[in-house]
């Protein structure tokens, strides 16, 4: 019963936030509605007794990813309201709503037809079973660092590639500009020649003195 009420609270939070993300005119408001949705998903994870994931959801998603969104919004200064009435592609919105609704209808039909739920067989390994008595973190840790160790290493590589890609993409100078900066020609050195030595007239006066 309590589980049920928590589920419907979480679902209401999630869906209200999701609709807010889509319809908010201001990008900052969309980001804040996104935080609401992510916290609702964390509530749903708690209902399903995935406590570690609920914590990770809040720390990584709401605490890091949305902050990156807000940083970019701040950096670009695009926090002004967007006119949602502008429609450069005729009929884009009705078509999008129809497509989204049909996607939803298809998914829900599949769920309701498949009344027997997940038909696969869970692993017989007691270490992987959710009711084996050890804590959530210990279970995920044991499986992640044994069975999924290679995949875990690959995510490390993926993160590194992502960071390098972000640095390369947002670098402000092209490599040609950097070479220009290194060239000594751009440095304005004071001349060591006597005053007026490089003037055109100076050469003339020297020749006149010789004659």
């Amino acid at each position: 019963m309590a589980e049920f009420i928590t589920f419907f609270f979480g679902a209401a939070i999630i869906l209200a936030g999701a609709i807010g993300v889509v319809v908010a005119r201001n990008a900052v408001h969309s980001a804040l509605f996104l935080i609401q949705t992510l916290l609702g998903v964390a509530v749903i994870f708690v209902v399903q007794e995935a406590h570690f994931l609920a914590a990770v959801q809040i720390v990584v998603y709401a605490g890091a990813i949305v902050i990156v969104f807000l940083f970019v919004i701040m950096l670009l200064g695009v926090d002004k309201a967007e006119d949602l009435g502008v429609e450069p592609i005729a009929g884009q919105k009705p078509l999008a709503v129809v497509l989204g609704a049909s996607l939803l209808a298809t998914a829900i039909t599949f769920v309701l037809v498949a009344t027997d739920g997940a038909t696969g067989v869970g692993s017989g390994d007691p270490e992987r079973q959710l009711d084996s008595g050890i804590t959530d973190i210990e279970r995920i840790g044991r499986v992640l660092f044994t069975e999924y160790a290679v995949a875990f290493q690959l995510t490390a590589a993926l993160l590194t590639i992502g960071v390098i890609g972000a640095v390369v993409l947002t670098r402000s100078q092209s490599s040609a500009d950097q070479l220009d900066d290194l060239a000594p020609a751009s440095v304005d050195l004071p001349s060591l020649a006597p005053e007026g030595a490089n003037d055109e007239h100076h050469v003339d006066t020297v020749e006149e003195d010789a004659s």
Partner: protein, 106 residues
Amino acid sequence: MILAELALTSPYYLVLSALLFATGATGLLIRRNPLVMFMCVELMLNGVNISFVAFGADLNDVGGQISVFFVLVVAAVEVVVGLALVVAINRRRSDATADDVSLLRG
């Protein structure tokens, strides 16, 4: 009370997951601001995460939760690279929408 007799089974979670996914997909198609489009992709990923955990709980297996963990990492990388692209495009054109990216040529 009727609610007390109902067990909270996986179809509830799957319908919620479908709702969240469809909302994200619709937003992705409607919105033209690339930042909001990325947020809608996050909504879709979260919808999938809910069903991963529901299936994992159904099968009494930790694999669903492990999948969510990997989705989370991929989502983080996707956001970092995607927002770097948005910043790079905005340097050239200050009020770029997703439609303007079609002007790019290799």
